[in-house]
């Protein structure tokens, strides 16, 4: 998606009486912008930019917007603010009977000129520059630039809107003033490298959606989080990603990892600034993802550091996770679950920037950036996570991901994407539209499980209604009132920790098992099953991670469900068929919300055991 920017400028924002603005066409060609102003000048332009860097909307910030000889031009603060409001939706909270709408395209950035000429348009001033006034004393005085007045007013009403000064006036005359008033920088409009500087500014400070569409959203909270990720992509310091369960921490880690090699918004000289030589080397930087809960206190050293091969004793070598991530990123998910022994080892790696393979005495230097994620309150006094390790894992900063309830206006975009994904996974089923009533229901739910929960609800609706053209409110299985009340009763600490034994127990505690309330019990059964499956999925996920087959070709490792099932059940004699049955049965209640390795494992189990789910499997976890 091309960024959309707003430019307040008297010269380039005006329209002359014949409806044209040659100066604006010149400027757009230089900066490779498409003129999206929609006025007569933009409509009359025949100019076509092959690869535009932005859609530009111009505002004169003066009345009248179109002027000729005899007119008097005055600065118009209200007009300028109104133009900003058109691309800056206020945070829309869901209200009864009025769900928030999908947010319109938001300004990625605002550019403001400094000097705005006012006064009468005379024959001479019009001849020199059509529509421009002759100017008044003070217009061109750095102490009274109207651009600085505009900046004050805009920063006060829109503090999150990134603003740059775009002017051909000398920067040093206003460098203190624009900083004090909240502008993020100054771009010399007539400089030869102006377009590159602006692209760099957009990349570092602009509000840009994920062009790949993997992280879905146009709301301010998600755009701010993506901006933090892009800024983090410009250096090699360690980054911590925090957010409630289901907010997409791994997706953002992947966005951060690939951000530097994304084409489109990456400024041409970013290679040099990041110290990375060329596009090829950037694209080939590895990302190795691992669930921290999967590390066993006995085996983690071989997983992390690898094994030194020994021809004399016949010991096969193994490349460790840190070596696999050399030159790239190691993503440690759920670091709150990292065993203390592993914490100590990671701490040493971060201090010394070197590793020693098991069976070797040689220290190997490593250049790895650690990206970590957690939904836990690691700073709490009850936490067993080492504070000094936490500090080292966030030397490059922390990215906070917003919960879905704080970005409800992204739900239409998310629902569209998820519905499409669900349809794509079920060949032959009908594509569908979501009715306004269904959307309203989705936008008024509070989503404690965030995007993952939304995904589960949509997948469930699509799976159960394959032969319809509309997804209606009746297709949605959202928690009933009592259950929703239960969600709010869960303590924040527990709610952030994802599926735990406590969350299952909470569901059970609030269930009525009275025969006289059999109907309520039946309604709650699917949730109990799902909560149980989520809990077991954590165990299976850890077992999968611990038994993955890793090779240099597959640094992230290949899922093997047979060894994983043996590890999870503690039964070395478990057959492959039984292992497949185990995965199939435990994961089927939450099949719609499975992602990554668990989704792969579920597909493997269905392939191995395509027939119906067995009536009962006895699972013993040691």
């Amino acid at each position: 998606m091309t960024p959309r920017i707003l430019i307040h400028d008297d010269l380039f924002g005006r329209c002359s009486l014949d409806g044209s603005n040659v100066d604006r066409e010149n400027l757009c060609a230089h900066f490779l912008w498409v003129d999206a102003t929609g006025d007569t000048s933009a409509k009359a332009s025949k100019q076509k930019v092959i690869q535009p860097t932005a859609e530009a909307v111009f505002c004169r910030a003066q009345s009248p917007a179109s002027s000729g000889p005899g007119d008097t031009v005055e600065n118009d603060l209200d007009m300028a603010l109104e133009a900003v409001r058109k691309g800056w939706p206020k945070a829309d909270q869901p209200q009864r009977g009025r769900p928030p709408k999908s947010s319109p395209v938001r300004w990625s950035m605002l550019l403001i000129d400094l000097c705005f000429y006012t006064g009468k348009v005379t024959a001479a001033s019009h001849r020199r520059t059509p529509g421009m006034p002759e100017g008044r004393p003070g217009d061109d005085d750095p102490r009274s630039y109207f651009g600085l007045t505009l900046l004050d007013a805009i920063h006060q009403e829109f503090p999150e809107l990134p603003v740059f000064i775009l002017s051909s006036k000398p920067r040093d005359q206003v460098s203190l003033e624009f900083s004090q008033r909240g502008a993020l920088g100054f771009i010399d409009r007539s400089a030869l490298d102006g377009p590159e500087l602006l692209e760099q500014a957009l990349w570092n400070h602009g509000l840009l959606a994920d062009p790949s569409g993997e992280v879905v959203g146009q709301s301010l909270p998600i755009l701010l989080a993506l901006r933090e990720a892009r800024r983090a992509a410009g250096h090699r310091e360690n980054i911590l990603i925090r957010g409630e369960r289901g907010t997409g921490k791994e997706l953002v880690a992947r966005y951060l990892h690939r951000a530097i090699s994304d084409s489109g918004f990456t400024p041409p000289d970013l290679n040099q600034k990041s110290g990375i030589k060329n596009q090829e080397s950037r694209a080939s930087r590895p990302l190795v993802a691992v669930n921290s809960a999967a590390f066993s206190p006995n085996l983690f050293a071989t997983e992390l550091f690898g094994i030194q091969p020994r021809t004399s004793s016949g010991v096969d070598g193994k490349v460790g996770l840190i070596e696999m991530a050399k030159g790239g990123d190691l993503f440690l998910d759920e670091i709150a679950d990292m065993p203390p022994e592993v914490q100590a080892s990671i701490m040493r790696v971060l201090q010394e920037r070197q590793i020693t393979r098991v069976g070797s005495r040689e220290n190997l230097p490593v250049d790895v950036r650690f990206l970590s994620a957690t939904n836990a309150e690691l700073e709490s006094p009850d936490s067993t996570f080492r504070p000094e390790l936490l500090d080292r894992l966030r030397t490059g900063g922390t990215i906070w991901l917003p919960p879905l309830r704080e970005r409800m206006d992204d739900i239409p975009l998310l629902v569209e994407k998820i519905t499409h994904d669900a349809e794509a996974q079920r060949p032959g089923i009908r594509p569908r539209q979501v009715t306004p009533e269904a959307m309203e229901r989705l936008q008024t739910h509070d989503w404690p499980g965030n995007v993952r929960e939304l995904r589960g609800v949509i997948f469930d609706a699509v799976t159960r209604h394959p032969d319809v053209e509309y997804l209606v409110a009746g297709h949605l299985r959202l928690p009933k009132k009592g259950i929703r009340k239960l969600d709010s009763e869960i303590k924040p600490q527990e709610a952030q920790n994802g599926s735990t034994p406590n969350s299952l127990l909470d569901v059970l505690r609030h269930c009525s098992f009275s025969p006289s309330e059999a109907g309520q019990w039946a309604g709650q059964l699917p949730q109990i099953q799902q909560e149980h499956s989520r809990l077991m999925a954590r165990l299976l996920g850890a077992a999968i991670e611990a038994t993955k087959r890793r090779t240099p070709d597959r640094p992230d490792g290949a899922v093997q469900i047979h060894p994983a099932a043996k590890l999870a059940t503690g039964n070395p004699a478990l057959t492959a068929a039984k292992a497949a049955d185990l995965f199939k049965r435990l994961l089927s209640p939450i099949q719609e919300e499975l992602e990554g390795d668990l989704a792969d494992a579920y597909r493997i189990s269905l392939r191995l055991r395509p027939k119906g789910i067995p009536a009962r499997i006895k699972v013993t976890v040691r």
Binding site: L32, V49, G135, S190
Partner: protein, 156 residues
């Protein structure tokens, strides 16, 4: 001679209004068109029209530089019958030391002549010609920007 305010306005009209915001951007646009980054049937005509204005603009620039040199002269700043106006003389000498106006005037004159020659030499709008014009137009814009009358005595 114009007042300082009139000179500032004339400089803004030429340097900011015409050279930086029109001429240089028209050159940038032409460069984009010739490189194929922008498709446009009229962009080169815009530049040709501006180049046709050059003789008139050249005269404006000559006047600007000439007036600046006049303001910075001893006779403009120290009244002829005020031999006792020692402070004005000291102030003039210090300004000459700090701002070196004669050097700035010389650089502006050279930049103007250089651009003038380039415009007359550029028989066709090729990428190489336009890049040279951009370089020289920017050099002139910087040189004119450096001319300043802000520190002159207020009576001027």
């Amino acid at each position: 001679m114009k007042t300082v305010g009139e000179w500032n306005r004339a400089r803004s009209d030429f340097n900011h209004g015409w050279l930086k915001n029109r001429m240089i951007f028209a050159l940038y646009r032409a460069e984009r068109i010739l490189s194929g980054a922008v498709l446009d049937d009229t962009g080169l005509d815009v530049l040709k029209n501006l180049l046709a204005e050059w003789p008139e603009r050249f005269r404006e620039a000559v006047e600007l530089i000439r007036h600046h040199a006049s303001y910075c002269s001893m006779s403009a700043q120290v009244e002829s019958d005020a031999e006792a106006d020692y402070a004005a003389v000291v102030s003039f000498i210090r300004r000459q030391e700090e701002e070196k106006p004669e050097i700035k005037v010389r650089l502006a004159t050279e930049a103007l002549d250089d651009l003038d020659k380039e415009i007359h030499a550029a028989k066709e709008l090729s990428t190489a010609n336009i890049q040279r014009l951009i370089y020289k137009a920017r050099r002139l814009a910087d040189a004119i920007s450096s001319l300043s009358l802000l520190s002159l005595p207020s009576r001027l």
